[in-house]
């Protein structure tokens, strides 16, 4: 178990297989995501989404 969790009650076995998927809470997460407030989309978190495919592939 990677997590050292001390709980009063037992936990499911899945806790033994917890794995990191984002950088640690420290300053390792250097990639900042920029969001903008957007009335048109009715959200405070409109993110610029990079196209998965290069434009030349779509032409």
């Amino acid at each position: 178990m990677r997590y050292q969790i001390e709980e009063k009650y037992k936990l499911p076995l899945t806790f033994k297989f917890v794995d990191e998927y984002r950088a640690k809470k420290s300053n390792e997460n250097t990639e900042e995501t920029a969001y903008v407030k957007c009335e048109k989309y009715q959200t405070d978190f409109l993110m610029q989404v990079k196209p998965h495919k290069a434009l030349v592939r779509m032409l």
């Binding site: 899945t14 998927y21 809470k25 009715q42 959200t43 989404v49």
Partner: protein, 300 residues
Amino acid sequence: MILILSKNQETTTNEVIKWLLAMEKKFIRVHEDEFFEIKTKEKRVYIESKRNCFFIDEITSVWYRRGGLKFKRFKYDHPSVDIHMNEHQHWLEDYIIKTIESKKHINKQSTSHVNKLWILEQAKKADLDVPEYFLAEHTNDVILNKTITKPITGNITINGFRDYADSIMYTSVIEEKEPNDFFISFFQEKIEKDFEIRSFYLDGKIYSTAIISQNDEQTKIDFRKYNLEKPNRNVRYNLPKDVEEKTRQLMRSLDINCGSIDFIKSGDKYYFLEVNTVGQFLGVSTVCNYALEKEIADYL
């Protein structure tokens, strides 16, 4: 007017909205932290929050993505008055939700949160192949290296735990017996797969993608352990007609008209794993040119 029940920060919702704007369809987006009051005006019912205010009869279609309609409930001083008023308010809220869910919709607040264990039983009833599974508090009956465990919860992440990084509970193979008992856990027969299939289901239509995850040690057991340097190959795929028909039957029995369904192909069998009603589908939509965001916007 389209009603979108979602979260303030939700990329998939933004992508569908991009299409709604292009199609000039009007919509109202409700966030997860909005609380509504139910009111009336000239015999018409409307609901009002800090962000939104709309008549129920204005709504023509609904997309339940995440979150849901929540209501402010008043508390009364006298216990017996409070019991009565609690029920009074409950039925008004129930009426609003039932009325909204009776409109043209993509998923419903009341049926969208699915029980993985129940779904496996329903999948077997629909005659889909399901890997053998059981619940246990010990590993006595577990066949090592041939059994996996995975969470029965929708949320498989553990975020913000002390100084640990944000983490996820992947599907994992049991390689050793546990000396001690643990909380009831889910175990399932490990299937040697040719590849995985993720199918997006929308109102009877099925859009499948084969995920070639078997040849990479990192993604072999759970393709969500993404190999970012050398991503799995994803290609369009057609499930056999009978598997598609059984899947439709399953989704009808669950009263869900939209979701992502996971299968494993092994030899000539297609093993059903689970349905995810709130999953991310933008990745497969883009890679396979399915434009699922447009399909959703079209349907609404």
